[in-house]
Structure formats: C-alpha cells, structure tokens
C-alpha cells in the first residue's frame, strides 16, 4: 500500500490529515483532563471537609503495590515512547518489540492492581456494612479510591486495546503506514500514565511516615 492511499476523505494532503488527527486527539485529551479533573476536584473537596478521616484512610492503602505500579506504568511510557519514535523512524522491529513490552507492562499493572484490590477487599476497605475504618471521612476516601482507580483502570484497558491494535498491525507489517494511529495511540497511553502519576500521591503518599 502506498502512502497516498492512506489519505482519507475529506483531506487533500497527508500532513494536514496528520495534524487534524493530532488536534482531534488533543481536544479529546483536554476533555479527558476535565473528566479526571472533576474527580480530583471531588477528592480535594471531600478531603478539605474531612482531613482526619482522609488521612486515616490513606494510611490503609498498600504503598508497595502503589509504588510498584507507578514504576511499571512509567516504564510502559518509556517503551511506548520508544515504540513511537522507532516507528516514525521506520524501524519496524524495534517498534514491534517495544509495543509488545508496553502491552506486557500494561497487563502487569492490571494484574498488580488486581492483587491490590483483592487485598483491599479482604481488609474490608470496600465501603459497606463491614467497612474497616470507623473514623468519619475514611469511607469517603475509599469511595474515591475505588472510583478513581477503577476509572483509571478502565482507561488503561482501553489503552491496551488500542496498543494491541498497533501491535497487530506491526505483526502484519502494516504498522509504519499508520502514522496517525501511532501518534494518537501514544498520546493516549501517555495521558493514562500522566493521570496515574497524579493519582499516586493522593492515594498512597499523603499521610505516611
């Protein structure tokens, strides 16, 4: 397939089409930023109202899991960044390997998160009748914990889907033609990572030591 065949209606030239994809994606990322921003706002407001309970709650999350996951996700951003740069420089093999690494790291994140969720459930950290921490506000902390990490994990799963698609293309040796997909997928993956970077201190670090 030639490059020209990749030009889609209604565009007249490829660079413009590329930029349109990037602009579209960045607009979407701005939207995502407000999506999570609203959750962060909720967290900030409720913490402001219940500092003691929030901090008590924050001491019950497992910082080992949290830190490990942060490292995993940051590394996945590295592999994704390399994959993108390699693909854009026509180095298909390197790109393929890096995409595979990204997929693996993303899955690792979900697995670790799964173990963490299991532990949380065993410790009765799911709000409900048996909730473990009596202090007022702690249950709100954990409400936000579940919603925000859950929504993040959902985004990550979508990310795995689109990265997986690229990986599929790379297996079929059709990766390099899809420059727009490569770039937009990378941006999305990084955003999911970026959001975790902000989530991490809020849920694992604020009340330690």
């Amino acid at each position: 397939m030639t490059r020209a065949a990749l030009l889609h209606e209604p565009f007249k030239n490829i660079p413009r089409e590329q930029e349109a994809f990037l602009l579209g994606l960045w607009s979407f990322l701005a939207s995502e930023a407000l999506f999570f921003g609203a959750l962060f706002l909720g967290y900030a407001v409720v913490r402001h109202l219940h500092i003691a309970g929030f901090d008590e709650g924050a001491r019950h999350t497992n910082a080992v899991f949290g830190t490990a996951n942060t490292a995993v996700l940051l590394t996945s951003s590295l592999t994704m960044a390399v994959a993108e740069r390699a693909a854009l420089a026509d180095r298909a093999r390197l790109a393929r390997i890096m995409l595979a690494a990204t997929l693996l790291l993303g899955l690792t994140f979900l697995v670790i998160k799964g173990f963490e969720y299991r532990e949380d459930l065993e410790e009765h950290l799911m709000p409900g009748h048996q909730f473990a921490i009596p202090l007022r506000g702690a249950v709100l902390f954990f409400s936000f914990y579940w919603v925000m990490t859950g929504v993040h994990a959902l985004h990550l799963t979508v990310g795995l889907g689109v990265v997986g698609r690229l990986f599929g293309l790379s297996l079929g040796r059709r990766l390099l033609e899809n420059r727009a997909s490569i770039q937009t997928t990378t941006l999305y993956w990084h955003l999911v990572d970026l959001i975790w970077v902000v989530l991490f201190p809020l849920f694992y670090l604020v009340a330690r030591g």
């Binding site: 960045w26 607009s27 390699a86 390197l94 970026l194 201190p201 604020v206 030591g209």
Partner: protein, 97 residues
C-alpha cells in the same frame, strides 16, 4: 556500538526522561515515609506535577508540537483552574466549623 543521532532521538532521550521519572518516584516515596517531615502533601504534589510535566513535554512532545496542540493542553489546564478556583471560592469561604 556508537550512538547515532537517530538512536539518540529514539532511545536516549526517552531513557533519560525515564531515569528522571524514576528518580522523582524514589524521592517522593522516600520523602513521604520520612518520619515527621514537613509539608508532605505539598512536596508530593509538586513532584507529581514535575513528573506530569516531563511526560507531557517530552513523551507527548509538547516541546515540539505546533502551537495549536499546545493551546489544547493549555486550555485543559486553564479550565481545570476555573473548576477548582471557583469551587473552592465556595468551600474556603464557608462559615468556619
């Protein structure tokens, strides 16, 4: 093996940033668990902001993007500021207690 300019761009830059991110992670975790350290929340948030900025600027290529794309990023930031600013205009000025 000598590092070509291309490899530098493809691998070296991302790896350097990754090292920076990991160092930041180590620092923030250490500081958080340091007994009785002051201004913990603030430090954690500042480091998070630095990490986020690294990702946005290098990995997401804001440093080299057309102005239009940067504008989208800036817009997101400004709108978040409005959301937080005016909501806290309420919460921070409510009657004490």
């Amino acid at each position: 093996m000598k590092i070509s300019d291309r490899d530098r761009e493809i691998i070296l830059v991302p790896v350097l940033v990754w090292i920076g991110l990991m160092v930041a992670l180590a620092v923030t975790v250490t500081y958080a668990f340091w007994p009785h350290a002051p201004v913990k929340v603030e430090v954690a948030l500042v480091i998070a902001a630095i990490k986020a900025a690294l990702i946005a600027i290098v990995y997401m290529r804001l440093s080299r993007s057309p102005p239009l794309l940067r504008l989208a990023a800036v817009a997101a930031f400004l709108w978040l500021l409005m959301l937080f600013g005016l909501t806290f205009a309420d919460y921070l000025t409510r009657a004490p207690g």
